[in-house]
Symmetry: C2
Subunit: 118 residues, 2 copies
DNA sequence: CCAATTGTTCAATAACCTTTGAACTAAGGA
DNA sequence: TCCTTAGTTCAAAGGTTATTGAACAATTGG
């Protein structure tokens, strides 16, 4: 893990909410949740924003403590920090994901066929 | 009810999260939750911001569908839209309020002694 | 080594957010 | 009627956010 992440207790509720309060980032988180356990690289999110813009949004998610980003080769493997978020804010992530799943204003979670190769 | 409110299904998740992602508004919501059932007027929130600024934040909360504001005389009576929020985003409000209660970075919920007179 | 792939950084821009004080409206009481 | 109380509106300032394209760095495969 090369990139800077907050520790679990540095994660602030207001910050997490603010970061999730953006449609692009909410779509990213929903997509991560739909593939939970599988680390996804940035290119998996290109439906939601341009490459440059993804770099920005993924950094916001990481800095807020919502995601963990691991550098592997030229890739960044991204996962939800479910354990830390659940410990810190029980039930929050689940209710956000469930609500996002019902939200028609968000782009649908697409089905790329190829997962990241381990 | 004079002031404009979104209907329950106009309430957007991203917007609710964005609006709650501000420490002042989070403190207001937490305070409302701590007195749930009791309509509070604006002056009850003067610990959190100036009068002018409260007007701004309370409008944001109302426009996002988080609170309901009723004009009574020169007062505005403010309540949480728990029913609508729970129907739309089950569990969200409770987990936010619970998390906010544990968050040391937010101002404590103070105990004014006098409730609004019915 | 060369080229392609992955993603970051930078500067610029436009939009939006928060906060302020001064001026305002509207209702209620003396 | 006059004053007070409760909140709103306005314009301005300063800050942050989201988005873009061009340029960059780093790893990997041929």
């Amino acid at each position: 893990m090369t990139l800077p992440h907050p520790t679990a207790d540095q994660i602030s509720l207001a910050n997490v909410l603010a970061v999730l309060g953006d449609p692009t980032r909410l779509a990213i988180v929903r997509y991560l949740a739909s593939k939970e356990g599988v680390p996804l690289n940035c290119s998996r999110f290109l439906d939601f924003a341009s490459k440059t813009n993804l770099s920005y949004h993924l950094a916001k998610l990481r800095e807020a403590g919502v995601t963990r980003t691991e550098a592997v080769g030229t890739s960044r493997l991204i996962t939800l920090r479910r354990d830390d978020l659940d410990r810190r804010f029980p039930g929050l992530l689940d209710s956000v994901i469930a609500a996002a799943g019902d939200d028609a204003s968000l782009p649908a979670v697409g089905g790329h066929e190829i997962e990241v190769r381990a």
